[in-house]
């Protein structure tokens, strides 16, 4: 975790603290206090309210109250006369309030003098209006400043106890009610001694009990509590020690900070947002419960709103901060990916797109084209033109374009008639703009007969053009140094779309290569394999999805594990390439090449490319060369021998003219035979396309059959079938292709072997006469001839590949002048016969 992840939490705490100290949360905290305090369990009342009746003696009232056990008698206002006769002890327990002009500033000296407490004298205390917070009276000041220091207010003096802070909050439990008596009741001795034991008696005039009402937590929406009642609550709270004070500034700051940090940490450490939100919410609930307990037990009011705000802001701020950082990272990755993907294309400069469209359109055979933006009038310099000008338009261009555009479906084109009368062929219109930037593409393939085919290409071009524009618009804002209009999510989607499109196209391009290619991550995991490589690997029993590079090389070549590791080590360290001949798979000779860019150049974006070059053609060419050399060697020796013999005999025939002429005829005949053979070879070599895979040439069938027999020995063994080859000791020369014939022999033998009873024999015989070589394969259980014919004529492509091989090989055989025949009967077996031309 980076420490600056906590910055949003700190800022949230700072903001919450500022709001707290600015009084922004006063109302909220007060409301919380109200809700908690009005529900509180009240102590027994410690205050009794006395209504001072007209004409009642204040002194008698004091004496009566004290006689009933009252602790103190408090007059909210000076009752005037009647107190002079009180004894000194009684006077000291009698408090008389006098109004304090204001709380701010100092108490005037005359009032201060009145408030000076003197032994044996009445106690005089200033009385102040309770503090209102947004109209609700829930707190009171404990004292008032004067020139000589703080002077306790009436409630403080009446309770005989000072609160912890200058301002204290007065709990007003609903269940608490104060007895309200009239002075008559008290003085007329309706009560017995001890009824007011320990209580504070607050004496108020009738108007003080009914007038000047205050809105309090008990009745927040109604001014229903009199000043005398509020004083009673205040004295009750102070007397019982249940007054509440706000937590100190430092404590408030620390609490807010602590809560903010916890919330921020939850957001940072818990990745799931809903979990961290639950934690934050729990923190708020915990703060409420803890605050309530603290209020009840210690009378401390926590900065509830500050804590809650800090928790919420810290969570939200941290989440937003993390999201922003994630977005930034994502954005930088996106930009990097885009630049990497498109830096080499026209994408990096959208202005190039029309020019590219023109170039491509020309290449695909579009004869004329115009790319125009709808404007009135049309710009004389449209974004792109080819063999055309804006002046080619005729008629109401704007109207016609708008009409056509309204009928244009996405990705479709419409024929345009009359708008460009000078253009040849059918002119078509496509909309290739996006959103609020419409762009119309008008083009014609002219009178080309391929115009219809060209429409597909035009559709593809248009789609590509639109996609590129959209991607560019979405992605290029940041590249241009502007703040991106789209949120990063949208840009990511665009980038992914563009990159995956490019990736798809690259994969397609690789797949189009007529080569077996596979790319690996530098660690060795496969990235992509061309279909040919997939086929090759599957033919070798390797899973192209999971195989590692080293496994593939080891499997495809004769290299040992150690050699493969050494090869890869060198390639990865130094870059470059290495080749190794592949094991022959499915009759294909190939070379495996592994290449890797120089790591110093490619840094961490290294890949390894594996390529299998099919060297069958080279091998085939080599075979062909060898076969022709052998053939010429053998046949030319024969012909030269014949000529040499005839020449020797002619020499001996000196004087025998007739014999001499006969020998010359023989020499001519031998020469002619040699020439004929050379012509045959010439025909074989030249009358076939050089690229044909199955180009026939002189071959010896015995070695081909022997190789096939060796390859199938194990296969036949698995079926408990014996293979019996009847071959000449030495083959003459037949016309054919060894690879095709080997595959055909193998396919036919496999078909028969797999359908042979155990312990049966499958025979392969080769017989050569003067003009033909005959191959016969017999055995197996057999099937209905018609079914066999059907399978060969229309081979099931995937189930049994042998039929497909036989079918394709039979066609090649026929093209060499060979023949293929078959017979089969259920229970009697198969007979396959091949006949090839033989070179005499």
């Amino acid at each position: 975790m980076d420490s600056y992840h906590l910055v949003p939490g700190l800022l949230a705490a700072l903001l919450a603290a500022i709001l707290h100290f600015s009084g922004f949360f006063q109302s909220t905290d007060g409301s919380v206090f109200d809700r908690l305090s009005v529900r509180g369990t009240a102590e027994p009342p410690a205050v009794t309210l006395i209504r001072l009746e007209e004409g009642e003696s204040a002194g008698a009232l004091v004496q009566a109250s004290l006689a009933l056990g009252a602790e103190r008698v408090v007059f909210l206002s000076d009752p005037g006369s009647g107190l002079e006769r009180l004894a000194a002890e009684e006077r000291e327990r009698t408090v008389i309030g006098f109004p304090a002009p204001r709380l701010s500033g100092s108490l005037p000296s005359e009032l201060l003098a009145a408030a000076q407490r003197q032994e044996g004298e009445l106690v005089r205390a200033p009385i102040a209006r309770p503090v209102a917070e947004y109209g609700i009276h829930r707190s009171q000041n404990a004292w008032i400043e004067s020139e000589d220091g703080a002077v306790a207010l009436l409630e403080t003096v009446a309770a005989g106890r000072e609160p912890r802070a200058g301002e204290y909050y007065v709990p007003m439990p609903r269940s608490l009610s104060f007895a309200q008596l009239s002075s008559d009741q008290l003085v007329s001795a309706e009560f017995v001694e001890g009824d007011l034991e320990g209580m504070t008696v607050i004496v108020a005039r009738p108007e003080e009990l009914s007038g000047n009402l205050l809105a309090t937590p008990i009745s927040p929406n109604l001014a229903a509590v009199s000043r005398a009642q509020f004083a009673a609550y205040a004295v009750q709270a102070l007397a019982t020690g249940r007054e509440a004070t706000k937590s100190g500034n430092l404590a408030a700051v620390l609490l807010i900070l602590f809560a903010a940090m916890l919330s921020a940490l939850a957001a940072i450490l818990l990745r799931k947002r809903h979990v961290s939100a639950t934690i934050a919410l729990s923190l708020c609930v915990f703060a409420g419960v803890a605050g309530w307990i603290l209020l009840e037990s210690a009378g401390v009011i926590l900065p509830f709103a500050g804590i809650w705000t800090a928790v919420a802001l810290a969570w939200l701020g941290t989440i937003m901060f993390l999201e922003r950082r994630k977005d930034s990272k994502l954005e930088s990755s996106v930009v990097g990916a885009i630049e990497q993907t498109v830096s080499h294309t026209a994408f990096s400069n959208r202005d190039n797109l029309p020019a590219l469209l023109v170039a491509t359109a020309e290449m695909v055979g579009i004869e004329r084209m115009l790319l125009v933006r709808p404007a009135d009038p049309l710009s004389p310099n449209p974004p792109a033109t080819f063999n055309a000008e804006v002046s080619d338009f005729a008629g109401d261009v704007q109207g016609e374009l708008a009409r056509l555009a309204s009928h244009l479906a996405e990705g479709r084109s419409l024929p345009v008639r009359g708008l460009l009368p000078g253009w040849p062929g059918q002119v078509r219109l496509r909309a290739i703009g996006y959103e609020d930037k419409p762009l119309y593409w008008l083009y014609t393939f002219g009178d080309s007969p391929d115009a219809e085919l060209g429409e597909y290409i035009a559709a593809s071009l248009a789609q590509s053009f639109v996609t590129m524009q959209k991607s560019h618009a979405s992605l290029s804002a940041q590249q241009r140094g502007r703040r991106a209009v789209d949120p990063v999510d949208f840009r990511v989607v665009s980038a992914i779309g563009l990159i995956s499109r490019n990736s798809r196209q690259l994969r397609k391009a690789i797949d189009q290569l007529n080569s077996s290619v596979m790319a690996f991550d530098v660690v060795g995991f496969p990235l992509h394999a061309s279909p040919q490589m997939v086929d090759l690997l599957e033919a070798s029993g390797i899973n192209p999805q999971t195989a590692l590079l080293s496994e593939i090389i080891e499997n495809l070549t004769e290299l040992t594990k150690g050699q493969v590791e050494a090869l890869l080590r060198d390639i990865l360290r130094e870059g470059g390439e290495a080749s190794a001949p592949m094991r022959q798979i499915a009759g294909v000779s190939a070379t495996l090449r592994v290449s890797c860019p120089d790591p110093a150049q490619a840094t961490h974006e290294n890949i390894v490319v594996l390529e299998a070059f099919d060297t069958s053609d080279l091998a085939r060419l080599s075979d062909l060369r060898g076969a022709i050399t052998d053939f010429i060697d053998v046949q030319m020796r024969n012909d030269l021998e014949t000529i040499a013999l005839a020449a020797a005999l002619a020499k001996k025939a000196a004087g025998d003219k007739k014999r001499g002429e006969r020998m010359i005829e023989r020499i001519v005949a031998a020469s002619q035979a040699a020439t004929d053979r050379l012509n045959t070879m010439n025909d074989l070599a030249r009358n076939q396309p050089a690229t044909r895979d199955d180009m026939p040439h002189p071959i010896q069938l015995r070695p081909i059959a022997e190789n096939v027999g060796q390859r199938l020995a194990e296969f036949a063994g698995r079926y408990d079938v014996q293979l019996d080859f009847e071959l000449p000791a030495v083959s003459g020369y037949s016309v054919g292709d060894p690879v095709v014939l080997a595959r055909m022999f193998e396919a036919l033998l496999r078909l028969v072997i797999t359908d042979s009873p155990q312990h049966s024999t499958v025979t392969f015989s080769l017989a050569e006469d003067e003009t033909r070589s005959a191959i016969k394969i017999c055995g197996g259980f057999g099937m209905d001839r018609a079914r066999l014919g059907q399978a060969i004529a229309k081979p099931p492509r995937h189930d049994i590949p042998e039929f497909l091989i036989v079918s394709e090989s039979a066609r090649a055989l026929s093209s060499w002048g060979g023949e293929f025949a078959y017979d089969s009967e259920t229970g009697k077996g198969y007979t396959f016969q091949l006949s090839l031309r033989r070179i005499a």
Partner: protein
């Protein structure tokens, strides 16, 4: 004195004719067969003192002929193989296949006559 009989087994008719004329000039009685099967039949019909054998032939090649010869003919004649570049078949040299001599193509008439004379002087096919 009766002329020695030589059987030429070769599928090239022109060469057979010239070889026959060459050998006849040397005083041999020459017969011709155009493949291994014909050669064996000819030997069954009438014995020969020596066989001149080509290797590559249709129906039955020279190697097969050498293999079948002792099975078909009770006292097989010596065989001289006229071969091209071939000097072994199936891992066996021609000598190991009991031939009296080999003549490499193209045949030098003098060498051929000399080889024939040597083979005839040595008698029947070795190993019998």
């Amino acid at each position: 004195m009766t002329a020695k009989a030589i059987l030429i087994v070769d599928d090239d008719e022109l060469r057979c004719e010239l070889l026959a004329e060459l050998l006849q000039d040397e005083g041999y009685a020459v017969r011709i067969a155009n493949d291994g099967v014909e050669g064996l039949d000819a030997l069954e019909r009438e014995a020969a003192d020596l066989v001149l054998l080509d290797i590559i032939m249709p129906r039955m090649d020279g190697i097969r002929f050498l293999q079948v010869l002792p099975q078909r003919i009770e006292s097989p004649p010596p065989v001289i193989v006229i071969s091209g570049s071939m000097d072994s078949v199936g891992g066996k040299t021609l000598e190991e296949m009991n031939v009296a001599g080999t003549v490499r193509k193209p045949v030098d008439p003098a060498t051929l006559i000399e080889t024939i004379e040597t083979a005839l002087s040595q008698g029947a096919m070795p190993g019998d």
